[in-house]
Symmetry: D3
Subunit: 285 residues, 6 copies
């Protein structure tokens, strides 16, 4: 992968490469391979913006995310850039004032990464190679996770003296079934393999090498993109809502959501196509 | 299955067949095999009523649910009936007025299916054959899920242009360990097998064929029915409460719940039976 | 296990044996082997106190819990002691007055066991031999669970006519991935094995025999104890907070928490050690 | 009040008298004046049903509730009927079994009264004369409270040895501004006057005598009935939702709700009528 | 106030004077008049303990709290003691380590004051004279607030460079009706009078001078103490629960609570006394 | 008001006029007097941006908001602009697709107005003249509300066929004490006066005419600006947090918040100034 040319509407990004390998599918690549796709502030701000744009882009119905190059999905925070950053080494400042600056800094960083979760289109994250620290925060924001067999995962933050604050600790326990495992990998910062990620349910597919994994991600995205976008985007919204609410709250929200969605032509069209065994075509969304 | 005769108290249902294959056990069969046990409005209203009745029936301490016939647990919504339904194809109506009718319609449908979850007795759902769409919504309301090896599962709603609104999206992510898998099956609407259902924890037993699965369900129900109904029904209530509340909230509710339950004779009787190695007998509940 | 001598600061406990098998690691043993480490009120009050003390003890950075002796982690509630207890067999008392006494009794019991979860240091629970009833309530409060291959687990309470009220029903469904399995073991009170506990994710390691399991627990604790206590304790706090809150709530709390934590020297020291490949040393916490 | 004839669709109720004193306005009278409009089980079941019917009745856009006769809005629970009721004096039954019967009884009673709150049309409660115990539970479920100057209010339950369980304790603190006052009247069970009810904000109008109060209620209801039912019913729903949710949750729900409602013709019609200074006419809802 | 002798069971407190001015009524006086009843750590620890003891003391059914001496209810934190306290001026310590000590310190302080809210008996707080800073945190934990006409109230914390952290900011907005007023007094730290406190609903009675206020408090407490303690304590619990939960959650909890409480003899006795016009006598609780 | 010159940092806004009438105080005027300060999309986007800038501007410690000109605070939505807006009159579009556009539109609008609530500095809203529809949504986001005696308030949305969706329905019931009053003004859309707004607690001061009201607002803002910004901003944050959380949740968050804030020099400085009777000076924040 891949000969697909960049999407013009996304040509201005410096660290994100966006192409369209299949109809209505966007493929985003974190594009800083010489730095192992590490994230400086400039990178995460772009990351947030690209997913906001995808969320509103009616030409896109499903997104694949991977890293550029063979070595890493991302090695996480660009530590060198971070240590030269004023926020993290602000000298003799007052504790409360420094705390305010840090809150503001963390909030901006969190919001940029969460933009992928908030993106209304489903996102398939293809993880490969070095995938540590922020890589896990990012993967946790995707809807479906696929990885290459060579992936080296680690929730690395404890080893730099930190509790992970960009979302791993908030999301990972809700994504996989074993809290004992989650606390093990978060507290020890140890590596874990593609196979381990599969067996605990963090990823749902493992493929031999990055290329195969990306191809599988694109194929899955193409499938999603062929379906009613009203149905697909509603399903994403309701599943994300359900994660954070009681069943009663979710049923109430679902009812109000679908009271508009069911009035869409997608419903009658898909229903009819099902009865007539034809392939439905859906309007943009 | 099975030579057990219908329970007289439930003889008036048209689409539900209720028998008692073991003491204090009720077996409910969705009984519309020629339609693959598909659900029209009449069916789901009966479904709700039967579980309300079971909830209050002191002769019943555990329930098994399956589909009648060999082909399907249920093929889900009766699409033909639905398309001739006024609510879904109401013509030129005002959007807000149609939305009100739809909310009301979805609420009634949700409430009918949720009645199984609200039933105070434990419910074991035995899934077999075709089990798509609404079949998953229903299975999610059970306490324990068992399936036949031939089961064909699918969260089918996306393929009819809909986000599932009868409970799958609210409950499924809380029932199994891998959100990546949940989103895969909900967004793609693909089939999955009994084995896959077992490996992600959606079901906890797979048996060779429907008959063996039903027998296993009945045996399990008989075990539950032999225990203190105060203990069993309290355990169901507290586990369901726990799903939707923080640990602190659950501990508080548990304390108030057990302050009455522990005063029951079941506690002293079971305690004494344990010490004396005798078999306790419990009053109806 | 083990030749390590008791920690003097914990010498006064009657039912808890506390030693330090590795730097900054405390090993707590429930020490009533002739009673299969069963819990009377005196035992659970001590259990609560020892974890409160560990939480504030700057010499301790990670804790291992096991049972003394070869036969049991704990056989749960000391039923003989309980039946002679005034609260549970109070005679002809008024129902509401007895309910108040029971609420107060359950609250004290819950608080004693929850003290392990509230302990700010990570706790590794090594389960072995007989581990039923209260054993599960306790294990659910640990961060990481390891067990011996000979462990006999059971959520036993239903068999004494009770819904478990010391935390299993509130916590277990949030610790493992399959609700169908959780309800099976909670409603039937059946035994389950080390292997089954591993496959559903309740424990994350199984070792051949108690000694090997304890050694693995100590080794894991020693690893945690070598890391920044600011990072480790923050990670525990944020993961526990995340379990009971929405992602948005967690991100907000995380931001405020780390606004102070990131100002610690542990962060800059760990960062520098990482760049310089040296081993960092952290101050007590 | 009043010469208006009963509404035929509501003629079958025994204890509820329903008339229409103004276009699209229903007036419900609790009609058991010789018993001071006290509630037996038969009365509250009818009360629930009448508000469910009103909720779905497109001919009704606003509801007024009062008591029949001059002496009482309602004297609350019919104590004589209650004491002959099996649930409350069930003899020597097991505590847990009696608790289950009581939970079921309270739930049915709560649901019947809450039906007024759940009714999608705004309800104006006109309180007058004796208005104690259940009278307050009922008034708390209304949207707007008006009272006659002769009203004698009391949260009477403590004086019959009970904590009020049909909703007063859950709702009253959210309806008025002073918790110190709420706890005073709930803990002492003392009487309070129309004037006191006005000054704490429990009612928003006091009128001289029942007749004037009912007239004011009907006039207010007529005003509401002249407005867009999409706007009015949406406003009720969103205010009730807001009471029980955080501001962020409410804004999210509002957004989804109005995404359908704003597509109604009521919006464009009302907007145009406003610009053209004409009186809009709205379709039924 | 008053010639009543101290209660022997509470004779060991150094800073709290506890007497019984009426049957089943305890009167707690903060007893450090030369220091304007200011709170050092020793004082607040005693304050917490006295309310824990009262909560379990079956001889007490209602509590009155006031300050000893004529000048102050309490002048709040003992600033001199605080500035010599190690926690607040810990020198050059690491920020995260100091933060941990502060969290632990604040938690202990909060828990001591919250003990009054958690006390299962109703507490009437009689505020008089100087009542600033911590005085408001304390008053917010009472059920009913009464004050003397000479009271000088202020939420003083902002003036010592702090956001109030012992409960005023969490509770005050839920106690009174005007958020605009709450933010005014919390942000400006300005004084407000007894009259202003009455008009916003913070207190529900104002009396001329401390003695009259205390007498009114005792009279009110005596009334509460004459009623069924099952009803009174249940009402307190359900009102406090209601403050922090949705109406649906409250109704569910109420149902479970009353399923035990209604089985009390207090209910049948109070009911019968009501019908027979006799004065009921209730057992201790 | 006022001869103060515009703040250069805010000179680029077209519809917002920002001056500094007192040290560390910013005065924002909605500046579209010929349109009665009505809001088109351009206006609300600027409104959001100005409050985001103020939130981060260390030169500003308190904000006053009013309308420019004598006639109106704001007449609300610019209906003419709205009706020519594509979102609201999108022709024959599919219902679900239009719903998505509307959700996105409402979300942007809500976020712009909520920016005032999220602004970390306290905001005093001075309401005057015509203040209808969106005027109430805006005022609800302020911390303290002051109004001129000539203010004409109305929650006008129902009269244009809408449930208010920019925040009034979510916030107003939490700001004032009488839900009966809130539902009256929200359901009837009737006008209410400055005096009525004061008596229900919506505003906390009324002044004769706009100029006096603005002067009072500026004076109050100057008071807040003279205090420790760590204390003032922390107080705002904790009060807003408290509105949407239980008391227990608030106490926990407060503890973590103050663990950093108390380490500020503001605390020791304010404490010392208090003891020495000097005026403290605080660093920027």
């Amino acid at each position: 992968m891949s000969s697909t040319s960049p999407l013009p509407a996304y040509a201005s990004y410096e660290h994100m490469l966006v192409s369209s390998p299949a109809p209505f599918v966007a493929h985003v690549e974190i594009n800083r391979p010489r730095k192992l796709n590490a994230f400086s502030q400039a990178v995460w701000l772009e990351f947030g913006r690209v997913f906001e744009q995808l969320s509103h882009d009616a030409e896109v119905r499903a997104v694949v995310l991977s890293g550029a190059g063979d070595r890493a999905f991302t090695a996480g925070l660009d530590v060198q850039a971070a240590t030269s950053d004023g926020v993290l080494n602000g000298g003799e400042q007052d504790v409360a004032r420094k705390a305010k600056a840090l809150r503001s800094h963390i909030e901006e960083f969190q919001a940029s990464i969460s933009a992928m979760e908030k993106c209304e289109k489903p996102v398939i994250c293809v993880v490969h190679g070095i995938s540590i620290g922020l890589a896990i925060d990012i993967a946790c924001c995707a809807d479906i996770r696929i990885c290459a067999s060579n992936t080296r995962f680690a929730v690395k933050e404890v080893d730099i003296g930190l509790a992970a604050d960009i979302g791993t600790l908030a999301r990972l326990p809700k994504l996989v079934g074993s809290t004992s495992w989650v606390k093990d990998v978060c507290l020890t910062a140890r590596d874990f393999s593609a196979q381990e990620a599969l067996s605990v349910g963090f990823v749902s597919q493992v493929h031999e090498g990055k290329e195969a994994a990306v191809q599988a991600g694109v194929a899955l995205a193409a499938t999603l993109a062929s379906k009613s976008p009203v149905a697909v985007q509603g399903t994403k919204e309701l599943l994300n809502y359900g994660r954070d609410h009681s069943v009663d709250e979710s049923l109430r929200y679902t009812k109000v959501w679908n009271a508009a969605a069911v009035q869409s032509k997608d419903f009658s069209q898909a229903l009819m196509s099902g009865l007539k065994k034809t392939k439905p075509r859906f309007e943009k969304l």
